[in-house]
């Protein structure tokens, strides 16, 4: 089964993803890691804001809103039920 790896901002609402990689460096990278987005962490896309951006994600028990720019740097493997 081939892996389907997409940037987080393309994960549809309600879908589940598993963190594969983070395409950011330095402080930005550390901030994302500190949020809990290390490899193999489960992330679920919860809902979009009224304007479509940012999107709220469920990460390790917390609800974190990320703008599409940030979310595009987090690469996840789509998980299907």
């Amino acid at each position: 089964m081939s892996k389907k790896i997409i940037p987080l901002n393309q994960l549809p609402v309600g879908a589940l993803g598993k963190v594969a990689a983070i395409a950011a460096e330095g402080m930005e990278r550390r901030r994302m890691l500190d949020l809990g987005l290390i490899k193999d962490t489960a992330v679920v896309s919860l809902r979009k804001s009224p304007a479509g951006d940012p999107v709220a994600y469920g990460i390790r028990g917390a609800v974190i809103a990320l703008r599409s720019e940030e979310a595009s740097k987090i690469l996840v493997e789509r998980q299907y039920q």
Partner: protein, 666 residues
């Protein structure tokens, strides 16, 4: 921080960061932890201080310190900003880390949230690397119980190697045990053996965080028990999917009720309308609720004025003494107290309730898109919310924005949001000139609706000016935006209301005496000292009049704004006094009288509109300017903060005034 007496008075200028023990016997306790763990509640409970707690991340941006006594020893408690990590990604993390490393606390208490312990362990483990003398406080046990989560505190203590105390700081439970544990560690009675993570996989960023996360997971797995929630059954499929069962439990942990509430509050169709409606309701409650207390206060103070007046006349003092004390100082104070106090005493508690509930981050979530378009930061929505209460507090809250450029934009535009000192001005003008013909309940509704319209206008102006600033003097790219939407927490309604009302009342009264009374005195003097044919006041007004007329105002109004620099709430009293010194000595006890006074002085609906516009867009008050100077450490930006709203106001009023006369609307 929040909207308290401490955070909105001139006291905000004192940075409470440097800790100097009063005597070498004092023990310094650092209070660290993730944001939103109830750290500030623990602080309040231990010190009895009124540091505000609120439910949005990044809340505690000023360090607060307080003292408490326990078993004969003195303790200094330092509340550090909430941080997720000590990696110094932000000013808050740097502050926390610096204090823990260099400030030499005798004990560090790490406050954690029992409902999401695993996440909190990240910081706990990092702190345990730096210090042996630590106590972990597992707070919000009442919330955890509500969500059917239980923590094995003993086991946790075994794993971490330090004392672990469970608390529900909100209800005061566990705090004595916490103080005991702190004492024991500080005095060396308890030997700690803190867990030290070994970074075997490597020391690059990813491996370090990975090691921390794995360690946290392992500990959480063995100490946290959750009962299955109904939602878990629905999402059982997710549980099977992920590699580690703990991770998928983490996804399911996002509490169901919160998700359902948010589904509505941030939905495409209802999110923004609900926000506006909620704001409207808050204003309506403020306006309608303030009516009766206002008239009671006005009656009472009016009677007091008569007594005071008689007393002074009886002592045979010269007329000018009566003038400055009664007609000047007292009347101005009476106005401020009867008109400003009730709305403020209602608005602040309401706002605080919303804060405690956790609604404000949802506001930022809904509006971030528009802020992004304005090249500003979504958290600016939060700083604007704070600005509603007080612009000085709003400016300080801009610290939650990391990027200096976006922080400056938020600081410079904060004044467009009318603070509580300006509300009554806006309400009075709206009530007289817009709702003037309506009666009964419709009047409050119409007044609330017009204030709402004014606020929406203020937000639009803020966004436009923010965009203008980022295209001109503050050019740059948008920075990253991550905002945590914390779980809703039921606010302690009774406590909040009582504490906030009391706090606000004290604040307004103190300001009335310290600022309004001298201002009233000053105005009376200016209005009654003649230089040539006119009083000093008239001279100034005449000088300003031509320019003011271009803006749809008059010389006295502009004077009132200028003299209102110390505090926005005295603008209207000064104006009233100026008008009254021109002729009839009215007793002002109703808005109808006020309406007549203004009309007698050449007011039209256009004047009211322009005055409202100018009130919205003029220089920040004295306290705010000083706060901006302190926050930006620069005179250049302080001057900019003065000019940006002023120029906007001048341009807008000019356009409206000239436009109306061109179109022959007036």
């Amino acid at each position: 921080m929040g909207l308290t007496n401490q955070s909105t008075s001139i006291g905000v200028l004192k940075d409470l960061y440097r800790v100097a023990p009063a005597s070498s016997d004092d023990l310094v306790v650092a209070l660290a932890g993730n944001p939103n763990t109830g750290k500030s509640t623990v602080f309040n409970r231990l010190t009895g201080l009124n540091q505000h707690t609120g439910n949005w991340p990044g809340k505690t941006v000023t360090n607060a310190r307080g003292r408490y006594k326990h078993r004969g020893k003195n303790y200094i408690l330092v509340d550090l900003p909430g941080t997720y990590s000590l990696s110094a990604n932000s000013v808050e993390e740097q502050t926390a880390r610096d204090f823990l490393c260099l400030g030499n606390p005798d004990v560090t208490v790490i406050v954690t949230d029992a409902t999401c312990l695993e996440r909190n362990l990240n910081l706990v483990l990092q702190i345990l690397e730096i210090t042996d003398k630590a106590v972990v406080c597992v707070n919000l046990l009442d919330e955890a119980k509500r969500k059917k989560i239980s923590i094995d505190l003993n086991k946790l203590s075994e794993h971490l190697g330090v004392p672990v105390i469970g608390t529900s700081a909100r209800s005061g439970k566990g705090l004595e045990e916490l103080k005991d544990a702190v004492e024991a560690v500080a005095l060396g009675q308890t030997k700690t053996n803190p867990l030290r993570i070994s970074y075997e996989d490597g020391s690059d960023m990813d491996s370090v965080v990975s090691s921390l996360v794995s360690a946290s997971e392992k500990i959480a797995r063995e100490t946290v028990r959750r009962e299955a929630t109904p939602g878990a059954v629905r999402r059982g499929a997710e549980t099977r999917v992920s590699a580690a069962s703990v991770q998928s439990a983490a996804v399911e942990q996002v509490w169901n009720l919160d998700r359902d509430i948010d589904r509505i509050l941030t939905s495409r169709a209802l999110g923004v309308p609900i926000m506006i409606a909620l704001l409207g309701v808050v204003f309506w409650i403020t306006i309608a609720g303030a009516n009766i207390p206002s008239s009671i206060l006005a009656d009472g103070l009016f009677r007091l004025e008569e007594l005071l007046s008689d007393f002074i006349l009886q002592t045979g003092a010269p007329a000018w003494v009566h003038g400055i004390l009664v007609t000047g100082a007292f009347r101005t104070v009476a106005w401020v107290v009867s008109v400003m106090l009730p709305p403020m005493a209602i608005f602040f508690p309401l706002f605080t309730l919303l804060e405690d509930l956790g609604y404000l981050p949802r506001v930022a979530f809904n509006l971030d898109y528009f802020f992004k378009k304005a090249c500003a930061h979504g958290k600016q929505a939060l700083t604007m919310c704070m600005g509603f209460g007080c612009n000085a507090a709003g400016v300080i809250s801009c610290r939650i924005i990391d990027s200096p450029r976006e922080r400056l934009i938020a600081t410079l535009t904060n004044n467009f949001v009318p603070c509580n000192g300006r509300f009554p001005t806006l309400i009075a003008l709206a009530t007289i000139f817009i709702a003037g013909n309506l009666n009964g309940p419709f009047r409050s509704v119409a007044a609330a609706a017009s204030i709402l319209a004014v606020i929406v206008l203020a937000v639009v102006i803020t966004l436009l000016i923010s965009r203008l600033l980022s295209k001109t003097i503050l050019k740059g790219l948008p920075s990253s935006f991550t905002l945590e939407l914390p779980p809703y927490r039921k606010p302690q309604i009774g406590q909040v209301i009582v504490r906030s009302v009391f706090d606000r009342t004290l604040f307004v009264l103190a300001r009335a005496v310290m600022v309004a009374a001298p201002a009233g005195l000053f105005i009376w003097i200016m209005a009654n000292i003649e230089a040539g044919d006119f009083s000093l006041l008239e001279h100034c007004a005449r000088f300003l009049d031509p320019f003011a007329k271009l803006l749809g105002l008059d010389g006295y109004i502009l004077m009132a704004f200028i003299l209102g620099l110390p505090a926005n709430e005295i603008v209207v009293p000064i104006l009233i006094m100026s008008y009254m010194s021109q002729g009839s000595m009215l007793e002002l006890d109703s808005l109808a009288e006020l309406s007549r006074l203004f009309a007698d002085n050449g007011w039209t609906w256009l004047t009211a509109v322009c005055m409202m516009l100018f009130s919205l867009n003029h220089w920040p008050c004295g306290t705010t300017l000083l706060t901006i100077r302190k926050e930006t450490q620069s005179w250049k930006w302080t001057v900019a903060a003065f000019l940006v709203p002023t120029l906007t106001g001048i341009v807008l009023c000019f356009l409206v005034a000239q436009g109306a006369s061109l179109l022959q609307l007036v």
